[in-house]
Symmetry: C2
Subunit: 171 residues, 2 copies
DNA sequence: TTCTATTTCGACCAAACGGACGAAATTAGA
DNA sequence: TCTAATTTCGTCCGTTTGGTCGAAATAGAA
């Protein structure tokens, strides 16, 4: 019939590109006009794909949060090397993703967060990736270590002083 | 002459109470009208203490970020106990403070963050508190561990499964 | 070509925004 | 009590907001 556009694929692509804008400007700091301009279409066209700003934002978070198979479990190298690789992969867009996630969780109670599907799915993806390397027993502690290091690196504005290899996590 | 109000003290008190509102609604989601209503005064009165929304927000972040002596270094108990106490103190308003800090750092480059005074001061306060307990050598790694655990607790929506005491940090 | 379903757009709306301003209220010192 | 500095407030302004709507453009199917 009309245009040749795959609606779902196109909206997912828009959401992926919009996520970067949201994480840079925050939910409240992002207007539908500005984001449409950034995406290269009109505001009305954007509303054609997402009925509301909230819906677009939710689509963005789903695009950013890692799914089950988003973190490929590379099986090569030593445990230290594999952890280092995972850490670098997580650190890629750590700040941007965290900014988006904090926006996403804002105002939610702990109980609501605990029942949030997307959030739990993303966490289990991280846990699974770590557990595949160090095993279930140490996974929670090692994941905490990695997240804490990434956090400190971001809050410090770049690199932090290297820690004297506590248990093979840091580099 | 006129009113008996200590201008600085009053504005600091307003900023402290406004910080909670900012962290719950985000910078863009917070309007001067709403925050004034939440604080129990008129918008104009709020503008009397803070020339702009940005100025109010900056005052809020300064109120939230720990200063040099904000984290009292309790010297009683074992290292594990003291770490646990520090962790609980940090975890008190962890989510709210992080939400505010991510808003504060939003859009800043890594270089800008590295040169941000308030941020570096807050980090050194945390580092100092940890170093006072475990020593300089392990401080960076232990701080990362604590921050990561607090992060995971928040993102999980409450408690996480207890880790089998890796090196005395977790409880 | 013509039809028709989809995509894109500009124009519009009421509400809310950050901020400016002068008047009203308040109160310590004369 | 009167004065004057400060705090508080209501009101106004231009701009931007999220969202709606009908028309125009597009392109596969007839």
């Amino acid at each position: 019939m009309p245009k040749i556009i795959d609606h779902d694929a196109h909206s997912q692509d828009l959401a992926r590109r919009a996520a970067a804008y949201f994480s840079q400007h925050g939910y409240g700091g992002t207007s539908m006009r500005k984001i449409a301009q950034h995406l290269g279409l009109s505001k009305s066209a954007l509303y054609h794909y997402f009925p509301t700003k909230e819906a677009l934002f939710l689509a963005c978070t789903r695009q950013v949060m890692p799914g089950e198979d988003a973190l490929p479990q590379n099986a090569t190298g030593s445990e230290t090397d594999r952890l280092q690789a995972l850490k670098e992969m997580m650190g890629q867009d750590f700040a941007a993703e965290m900014a988006l996630i904090f926006d996403y969780l804002r105002g939610k109670s702990q109980a609501e967060i605990a029942q949030d599907e997307a959030m739990q799915l993303a966490l289990s993806a991280y846990r699974g990736a770590v557990a595949a390397i160090v095993g279930e027993t140490r996974s929670e502690q090692v994941l905490a270590q990695i997240m804490g290091e990434l956090m400190l690196v971001y809050l410090s504005g770049g690199e932090t002083q290297k820690t004297p290899q506590p248990h093979g996590v840091t580099g």
